[in-house]
């Protein structure tokens, strides 16, 4: 008899981690599995880091409902999970007279979706609010409820809080198939053996189609990875203080220029439909496309200011919207399908998926209740995830106190982002241990500055080796196969 859980969540992205976190409130035994060496390694870690206001999705779609409902949740959630979040508002910027009428349409759409506080501002006002803006601006739509976040922190904090409340998380554990008893899911097969369950939640992101097909659900549903490339600019060179969207096209919100919580400006994404669900390569043509888009909004941006490039994959689905009269074929799937018992099926969770994650988690709870699951609250549920100190954010006096308490906080390992040995060691021994370079990077922002880790890399490999009690040769960038080093020197090649 395999280990059995009430609920197994398949996939440790923002959605899976939020589902686990919100479900951990109830008397349930929960397992979350993630195929990668860390949680949040898919779309959750490579996106625009924006909590969308909700004017963009078509009224009546699940995307619109989830986005607007979730947007309201973020202040409380960020407080409980101790993650950075700023409600700075966002702008859709019209350039030239032709784009101006589209703002009215978006405003109307936003109002129908229930987005509060939106209005259109003049070109002059926009130039005043963002001095870097293209002088040909003709007006802008202002949505005060838009926000910016640290996308890595979201999945990690939610997962940690889930673990605090009794959820078990297994990394490097890949879903292979369901174990069925007739039409009922009774467990899953993984590369690490079988696990029994009463409910399985499909939160597999890019692989949600593969997972649901294994249960015989929605054979026509297909996820087409839609790649989006991004550039991050050096905060020392240019600072854009706002979230600036162009007027959207039919397939995407367009290439935006936005502030990040770390003061860097980010440019992207473009949108290319591809086949390979792992192809996060940045392309030569794509980077060119980014600059055309960026210059439309902020002409003074220069490729010389780039300190990092990356690409993310959106899990773009083909599920029709179920609201009668709404003609839309890329909606979220959030359902308990009739064909099988014991599956909560999530699919096509592309943008605004990160924003929507907490509302999706609440919807999953509703669905379980509707299915007759008696969810009983735990009296000792702890919604607060304790924060860990971030040296760079502290005033000198507090830095001094922290170092006096633990001298390892005095040793700065990443000079650009001011990350200390104390912080790295704390992450290695955190509830979700950071055991790879990239895992530490996502948690501390180490190696994301202008030197891109050239300085810290050998030092972090050393610290990881020491804390994990292994040889530096065993330390990886992002899991097995990505070892940094191949052998000691002074050896002859075999």
């Amino acid at each position: 008899m395999p280990e059995t859980y009430d609920v197994i969540v398949i996939g440790g992205g923002a959605v899976g981690c939020m589902v686990a976190r919100f479900l951990s409130r109830y008397r349930l035994s929960i397992l979350l599995i993630e195929k990668e060496a860390d949680i949040g390694m898919g779309a959750s870690s490579a996106n625009s880091a924006i909590i969308h206001a909700g004017y963009d999705p078509l009224p009546g779609t699940l995307k619109a409902k989830m986005n607007v409902a979730a947007n309201l949740m973020w202040d409380t959630l960020a407080g409980e999970l101790n993650i950075p979040f700023e409600r700075r508002g966002d702008y859709v910027v019209a350039i030239g007279p032709k784009e101006l009428p589209k703002l009215e349409l978006l405003l109307e759409q936003g109002r129908r979706n229930g987005v509060p506080g939106m209005h259109i501002i003049s070109a002059e006002e926009m130039r005043h609010r963002e001095p870097n803006i293209n002088p040909d601006v003709s007006g802008a739509l202002w949505a005060p409820t838009g926000g910016i976040c640290d996308p890595f922190a979201i999945s990690i904090a939610a997962a940690e809080n889930a673990v605090q409340n009794g959820v078990r998380i297994l990394l490097e554990t890949a879903f292979e198939d369901f174990i069925m008893d007739g039409k009922r899911i009774v467990g899953i097969k993984t590369n690490r053996g079988d696990f029994g369950c009463r409910w399985a939640v499909n939160a597999a992101g890019l692989y949600a189609d593969v997972v649901m097909h294994k249960a015989g659900v929605r054979p026509e549903f297909k996820i087409t990875p839609r790649r989006g490339e991004y550039c991050i600019l050096d905060r020392a060179e240019i600072t854009v203080n706002n979230v600036l969207f162009p007027v959207p096209s039919d397939i995407s919100k367009g290439i935006l220029v936005t502030a990040t919580l770390h003061g860097n400006t980010i440019v992207g994404p473009n949108a290319q439909d591809i086949e390979d669900k792992e192809d996060r390569a940045v392309t030569y043509d794509g980077l060119g496309e980014l600059w055309d888009g960026a210059h439309k909004l902020v002409p003074s941006l220069s490729p010389r200011h780039v300190i990092a490039v990356f690409a993310g994959l959106r899990a773009s689905g083909n599920a029709p919207c179920e609201t009668p009269g709404v003609d839309y074929n890329h909606d979220f799937i959030i359902e308990i399908p009739r064909e099988v018992q014991g599956l909560v099926n999530l699919g096509g969770i592309e943008s605004p998926g990160l924003t929507s994650a907490p509302a999706i988690a609440l919807r999953v709870i509703e669905l379980l209740k509707e299915a007759g699951e008696k969810l009983e609250e735990k009296p000792d549920w702890q919604p607060i995830r304790p924060p860990r100190p971030r040296f760079r954010d502290l005033p000198h006096e507090e830095q001094k106190r922290l170092i006096a308490l633990d001298p390892r906080y005095g040793r700065i390992v990443c000079r650009c982002e001011m990350v200390t040995e104390g912080e790295i060691v704390a992450e290695i021994h955190a509830p979700i241990p950071a055991r790879t370079y990239d895992a530490i990077k996502r948690r501390t922002w180490l190696g994301t500055g202008r030197c891109l880790g050239s300085f810290d890399m050998p030092r972090v490999v050393d610290i990881l080796a020491q804390e994990l009690g292994v040889s530096p040769l065993a330390i990886t960038k992002k899991g097995p196969g990505s070892e940094f080093l191949v052998r000691p020197t002074k050896q002859v090649e075999g």
Partner: protein, 425 residues
Amino acid sequence: MALKDKYDVVIIGSGPGGLAAAISAKKYGAEDVLIIERDVELGGILLQCIHNGFGVEIFKEDLPGPSYAQRFINEAMLLKVEALLDTMVLDITPQRRIFASSKINGFVDIQARAIVLAMGCRERTRAQVRLPGTRPAGVYTAGTAQRWVNVEGYMPGKRFVILGSGDIGMIMARRLTFEGAKVERVLEVMPYLTGLTRNYVQCLLDYDIPLQLQHTVKRILGHQRVEAIEAVRVNEKWEPIPGTEEIIPCDTLLLSVGLIPENELSKKAGVQLDALTGGPVVDNNFETSVPGIFAAGNVVHVYDLVDWVTEAGLAAGKSAARFALAERRREIRHIPLLAGHNVRYVVPHELDKQTLMEEEVRLQFRVKQPVEEPVWVEVHSENNLITRKSERYVRPGEMVTIVLTPRHYEEVERATSLTVSIVER
């Protein structure tokens, strides 16, 4: 070593520029000279440059990097230069206050009379040359690989392609070959070599490592670890020429694509930078736009020869010492006026002693508490009463004045501070 609150000259960085500045500052009369170094030893990047080619100009000898550094380290130690190792400077103010942080030394907060910036430079990265492709392990700057091989004793790969014909890249090509690795190719986007010709001959030609000019990396392949790179020929505008692509299997791509002066601290100190060099704007004394802050070496502009960095460091150290000594003289002349018993504050805050030689100086202050009976208003140096006068009463609402005159000069001249107090009779 007991750290002082105040130093004549503080040098940020202990590479060739910093070491030379420290030595020179001592020789030109600075008493308290401190080097702050973020690594665990003095010497900077020289310590990982175990190849020869250093010192030909200055010593007329061909030395490896660590030997070159050691000569200056020895001299600095003889001269009693102090050093904080494994310590990172967090912040420098335009008033030359330095905040630093360290596991062994804790939080450091010191005042410098003069500062020499000698942070050196850093390598340009993959993002700065905008290399497309995946982001696997196995893409390193040449300097990072050099640290792993020469300092830590590990090989970061078996089969290498090097992008950029900078000196570090060519030197690493030879070094990796010595260690049994295969260096497939050095690619250079420019139509000419960007490093020294002697390195091309000694590091590439002698080991049959092919150099391809006007070539770059079009993309990186491999998910977890580099599996290959796609090389391509470029035109004069550095654009890839279609049809010239070639897949080169390898497990590591090293980047030797240029160096940038490291000036994040200079910016914090308010130092003006030159957009072209990336370093501070300096005068012939290597003084930056902020008085008392000097800069030397690769932090100013990237040099080809370490000997010239040393020369710049020597000059900057001399200027810094000169500035610090003038500062000291000013401090000896200027002494603080302190509030003593029942005195809230004194204006002026400082006294320039020389004024007293010719003119009188009025000290004004307010008391903390009223005293409704006769009191003495007294001015003391550390040891002696300088002057006093009587007041019938003192009240916080009424400012009190006491005057120092040229006849007090002789006493005041020996003082390092003066204290004004109310003494009940």
